[in-house]
Subunit: 447 residues, 2 copies
Amino acid sequence: MKHLVVVGGSDAGVSASLRAKELDPSVDVTMVVADEFPNYSICGLPMFLGGEVGDWRKLAHRSEQELAAAGIDVRLNTRATLVDPERQVVRVEAPTGAMDLAYDDLIIATGAEPVRPAIPGLDLSGVFLLHHMGDGLQIDQFIRTQDPQRAVIVGGGYIGCEMADALTRRGLAVTLMEQAPAVLPTVDPAFGQRLGDRMDSRGVEVLAGVRVQAIEKTDRGLRVIAQPDIAKTADLVIVVVGVRPVTGLAEAIGIPVGTRGAIQVNREMQTVIPHVWAAGDCVETWHRILGRPTYLPLGTTAHKQGRIAGENVVGGHRIFQGTLGTQVVKVFDTVVGRTGLTEEEAKAAGWGATTSETNALDHKAYYPGALSLHIRLVAERGGGRLLGGQILGSYPTEVSKRIDIVAVALYHEMSVDGASDLDLSYTPPLSSPWDPVQMAAQAWRPA
Amino acid sequence: MKHLVVVGGSDAGVSASLRAKELDPSVDVTMVVADEFPNYSICGLPMFLGGEVGDWRKLAHRSEQELAAAGIDVRLNTRATLVDPERQVVRVEAPTGAMDLAYDDLIIATGAEPVRPAIPGLDLSGVFLLHHMGDGLQIDQFIRTQDPQRAVIVGGGYIGCEMADALTRRGLAVTLMEQAPAVLPTVDPAFGQRLGDRMDSRGVEVLAGVRVQAIEKTDRGLRVIAQPDIAKTADLVIVVVGVRPVTGLAEAIGIPVGTRGAIQVNREMQTVIPHVWAAGDCVETWHRILGRPTYLPLGTTAHKQGRIAGENVVGGHRIFQGTLGTQVVKVFDTVVGRTGLTEEEAKAAGWGATTSETNALDHKAYYPGALSLHIRLVAERGGGRLLGGQILGSYPTEVSKRIDIVAVALYHEMSVDGASDLDLSYTPPLSSPWDPVQMAAQAWRPA
């Protein structure tokens, strides 16, 4: 019987465990989870904190009972401290004390941790990072017990924007600070600006292009000081400026790290150490368009990589086909999706790339409820190869699955012109004879 | 200066005219339109008749003025009666009399006409076919002036189901009769049955597996008699049992017709007669999976074929990449989409194919408003090549653009297993880390 030890109980770890068990029920799987929250949807924390999700327990992708029923031995509150690759043993600190777990194969799925920016004041009461379930529960308790009225969110990426929505729903007056020229710097500033305007119209004070210098405790509250020359006083400060891979366990046994300090793996999710695999937010991510590793920690990718590791551990040879960086976020009633490269990213990678922006209604104007979609497509100036896309629109306009049309086209290296050949669905309440994505492709110009 | 004559003013004719002008503004384009409704969205007629579209004029994809501004000479109420391919002349009957239009190239885009089933009573007052704008306006006038209370719809395809929705909205008691075992016979009976049940719950009497024999005038109204042993009395009867290609002009000059009597063209949209092209609902449609011509008249395809004909007339060599039969319909709050082949179609074409059905929520259960999606995927039993998909769900569940994910995967001949490699977008209010389409692909079994 093969012994598989999986370190990490979030998306990659659970996917790997379940996939190994599915393909070979004889495998003995032990999953080591540092906290007491196996397989929770940390993507859902803003919706929980905004009150849209009533009970945090609902955030579990699968319950502990389900994992047990699948035959996975889950060890909660257990921290892996050391790997001995010669003896094939993992040392863990469990609630009952230290012990060794022998493995035939080991999957490291230790995930990511929030970046702590180098600013004073992060440890003040009322200042929180947000990444793990525990962080979310602490913030929720703070809001319930301290009744804060004003919040500053430091960092205007996906989580920052979602938290601005969440805390506004929860009745707080929210200021969002982002150092880039516009919020959501993973999309073009034109879209970040548009999203910022929409957040502003919902009462969020959006301050882009500002760099937070310090957080101080004053008698009026927490004072967030930023350049250029801004200070905001709040009762609650949430700092969400990105994540970095957790790699200590891997580095200690000589596994090299690469981009952004993430663990290097091949596309079968193997590390350089025999029988040691890694997957999820702790590893480098192969980029399908760039053809090289990047660091793009996303739940979708963690699920894929975990599933691949689980398959390969039991004898498979599945290859990770790469990320396109496909992402979508809903902030109030606005949805912004992206996939592939921005023009800036494409140029940095050596492509002569151009972006065209097209506005189109999500469905025929004559049918009630038609709303604008803003679509930006990036393609190679010479050959017209599609390199990326971004879509911004309202909640009911199928932005998310429209960006997926672009994602599948990118996956297959289509040209922007080729999008007109796709046979997409149409009925007047839901689209047009040319889907807006195709209209955008037809409007793209190499100039 | 090149003279292009386009016969037909619906999707294919207008797309061809606009594309030729776009690529070569020097082309002289004359568009011959049999009625007074150039480029109307006949797909929108049910929404107009249901009262969701207030003014029928809004159904125009483009106004006559827009076509004129694009430099297209539109001749309304003008019927092409004869082509002389030797002299390169089209004879037309215009309001001002007969005349000849000389052409360098001719595009036949005469579309389709409704099938008149061989049942007595079709000419009774209160009995209507529905395909052209004129039909729609007549039905609207009948409803407004005669105030019918009860309707029978003969034919439970896309239009029949949409009309059942429309007339129910308009306050009529509706009976829908379909001869197949379930409505919407372009999808599997399991989905047709499900849609039928949902229509029933909205008050439509759905009678599937019945064959209409006759329509009679009685003193209580129009009596629709069907086998087995059913008779319904109504004030309004709408007969929508499909369409057939309008090919007289082409056949008269020896252009062969093929599948379902449609005009044969190559994939550049050329007929066998030099300088005579054809596109849209009057032609055979190349099927991308079957690798042979079919007849699948759809607005999306007509737009594509028209655009290709317009491009090639001015010197292009664009190839029609084929239909996948991608379609979607909204009936009340239910949306049903399909693309590719059903298992039955796949088997008829020689594939050993199997269908798996999966039910999944459109987004994470913990976020409010999650609704069921029913997904049927057809794949080749041996190699797992994806052959088709069908999705049924509620209006807000992005059924339409999810079927498009399948359509783009089919376009690229992906395997059902390969769907797990696609990098699709995720945020808890809009999907799951594995999109439901991927969950369905993972649940597909060759058994």
